[in-house]
Structure formats: structure tokens, C-alpha cells
Amino acid sequence: MVIHVDARGCACPEPVIKTKKAIAQEHDEVVVLVDNKTALENVKRFAGKSKHQVTVEEVEDYYQLTLKK
């Protein structure tokens, strides 16, 4: 199951908090959208800490992070 989190327009620490709530649910993959570098770096760190593999794709004016267990 894929959970989508749109954290564009959110300032720190909101993107991490939203991602944290998402991974607390049953999931295979969590896809997170952020639109600033602080959020990108913070969600990457959170992925590492919560034992997820993370890939980042730059799309137009935002970043798409895919977190896999």
C-alpha cells in the first residue's frame, strides 16, 4: 500500500511530523512531496532514522521522496 503525503508549503518541522504520522500506518511505501531544501533534508534524515530506504526525485519546483521499508 502506498501512502501519499503532500507537505508542499509546509515549514519545518511539519513535513517530518506528517511523514511520521504516515509511517505509523500500514504501508509498503510512503511518497512525500516537499518544496524546500530544509524539508528535503529533514525528511531524508527521518527516513534513515525510521529504517526506510529513501529515493529523491526532483520534479519541476518540488521534490518527491519515496520511503520504502
Partner: protein, 311 residues
């Protein structure tokens, strides 16, 4: 911008120091500083205390004693009166504890509250501690634990337990007065306070201004409880990334340093501690007398490639 110069201006704009210093006569130097910021904690009384501690700190970091202070207060029209009172009360109490006087101030209407003070202090000109006088062979002592930026961010997200929050507020409401009084008994070469640019930013200013390399040992850093965990979780304020970006070329962080420790080194501090540089022979004694969170966190040597090296 036009450059100001005056033979009695001991510290001005150009050395990135903590405050400006003007020599009045052979025995008196005038120290001036101003600092305001938006609320860092929800409690208005604690916010007022923290803002005052932060504003007063620049005078202590220059080796002086604060004497006069003016409130600068921006707040929205609809901010409840008791909140306004509590912020000012917090500020008054800390200025009183500093044995200085609030003699006036200025308020202005603004959408987001901001509070702080302009502080005037005095010192003997020979006792002024600039941030650009670190000597080869000095050790560096930090007097307060790091992580206030990370933990205030975590607190806003409701991620801190009560004990951690209390430790955070206790650190941010502690005047640098007491550390400064002890420091003055030693042959200190240089001093600054750790604030918005993070430990690495302020260590860089010291090292660069002094023409030396400062080596920091990441295992010796005093860090507030939970700050390491919160950094690992990515609860890191935008300011930390800005600090990292601006210091990228001039600071070397060795690979063995964990990412979370690195994030703490760049974390912008509110009402942070003093960073003191003095000869190694006296370093242990001063760190011991300071007690609390104070630790020897590094040493200075002749410049070699980078202004600051973290290992």
C-alpha cells in the same frame, strides 16, 4: 556603504564581533548591542526572560558589565494584555538579575510579536575581550549545552517531554553573567557568545579573525538531552541548513563525525553560552570552576587550510 572610523572606536562593524565598543577615556569603554526575535517558546514569561538573557549576553561576551537597557517590543494589537505584561515581566526580571536598569524603550504594532533589548554596558578598555584574539596553543571552552534550535523546533511540534523542555528553558534563561564573572579571573585571550550562526559559525568567526585553526572534538560537545535524537529524526530548523551552506568551504567536518553531531554544530542557538579561548595551562581549571555544562571542546593551532576542523 560608507565606512565609519574614529580613533576611539575599538570594535565596530567590520570584525563580526558581538557588540560595538567605544573608548570614552583611559578607564572606560562603552559597549552597545541590540537583539530582538520572535517567540521561541509558547510561555510569554519564559520568552521574555530568554530574549533578555540573549540581549544581555553580547555585553558579557565582550568582557563588560551591562548597565542600561531599553526594551524593543513589537506586538499585534490583539495580543492579550496579560501576555504583553508577562513578556515584559520576564525581561525585567532578567535585567534586574543582571544588576542593570531598564530605562525606557519603544513599542510598535506588528503582526508577529518580537521582543528584545538594546543594552549598554561598560568595561575597562584593557579588559575588552574581542572575538579575534585566539592564540596558537589556546583551548576552547563552551559554557552551555548545544541544541536549543533543534529543541525549540521539537517543542513547537509537541515532541518534547516535560523534563527535556524544562532543561531547555533552564539553559536558555541562564544569564552568562556568572560564567563571565568566573572567566574574568583567568587570562582569557578571546571570547564570543554562541547564537544564530551556531557553534561552527561563531568558532569560524573567532578562528578566521585570529588567523588560526580551531580544532573541535565532537565527542566533547555538551549537548542538551534529546537534541541528538531529534536531530537524527530530522527536526532541524532551516537556520541550521543556512549555516551549513555558508560555512561549507571554510570548515572541515571529518567523516567520522555523525551527521546528527554535525547538525548540532550548525544549529542556531538562542541565548547560547560563551565560547572562551585561553591558554591550555589554565583551561582545565577554568572549566572545572565553571562547572555545569562547561567543557573544553577544542584547541587552537597555527592556521592549516581550514579555519575550523571538527574531528
Amino acid at each position: 556603504m560608507p565606512k565609519f572610523s574614529d580613533p576611539n572606536l575599538l570594535v565596530g562593524f567590520d570584525t563580526s564581533d558581538d557588540a560595538s565598543v567605544y573608548k570614552m577615556d583611559e578607564n572606560t569603554a562603552l559597549i552597545q548591542t541590540v537583539d530582538i526575535f520572535p517567540p521561541v517558546v509558547d510561555d510569554p514569561y519564559e520568552y521574555g526572560q530568554i530574549a533578555a538573557v540573549n540581549s544581555l549576553s553580547d555585553v558579557y561576551a565582550m568582557g563588560g558589565d551591562p548597565k542600561l537597557a531599553l526594551n524593543i517590543f513589537c506586538f499585534p494589537e490583539d495580543l492579550p494584555k496579560d501576555v504583553v505584561q508577562a513578556i515584559l515581566q520576564g525581561g525585567y526580571e532578567k535585567v534586574q538579575e543582571a544588576e542593570a536598569l531598564i530605562t525606557g524603550g519603544h513599542t510598535i504594532q506588528d503582526n508577529e510579536p518580537k521582543y528584545g533589548l538594546s543594552v549598554t554596558g561598560f568595561a575597562h578598555p584593557a579588559e575588552i575581550l574581542m572575538n579575534n584574539n585566539v592564540k596558537d596553543g589556546d583551548v576552547l571552552i563552551l559554557t552551555k549545552a548545544l541544541g536549543t534550535g533543534i529543541l525549540t523546533t521539537a517543542a513547537k511540534a509537541g515532541l518534547l517531554d516535560e523534563a527535556t523542555y524544562k532543561a531547555l528553558v533552564k539553559s536558555m534563561t541562564q544569564l552568562n553573567k556568572y560564567s563571565a564573572e568566573i572567566m574574568k579571573k583567568y587570562s582569557v585571550n578571546s571570547c564570543t557568545d554562541v547564537t544564530g550562526f551556531g557553534l561552527l559559525g561563531h568558532a569560524f568567526e573567532m578562528a578566521y579573525g585570529s588567523g588560526v585553526t580551531i580544532n573541535l572534538d565532537h565527542t566533547k560537545l555538551p549537548v542538551l538531552p534529546e537534541a541528538f535524537d531529534m536531530a537524527e529524526m530530522g527536526i532541524i530548523p532551516a537556520g541550521a541548513y543556512r549555516n551549513r551552506e555558508s560555512l561549507d568551504d571554510v570548515v572541515l567536518v571529518k567523516e567520522k563525525v555523525p551527521l546528527a553531531a554535525e547538525d548540532i554544530l550548525y544549529d542556531p542557538q538562542t541565548a547560547g553560552g560563551l565560547l572562551i579561548s585561553l591558554p591550555e595551562a589554565e583551561g582545565m581549571k577554568l572549566a572545572k570552576e565553571l562547572g555545569g555544562a562547561a567543557e573544553i571542546i577544542g584547541w587552537a593551532e597555527m592556521f592549516n587550510d581550514y579555519s575550523v576542523i571538527v574531528g
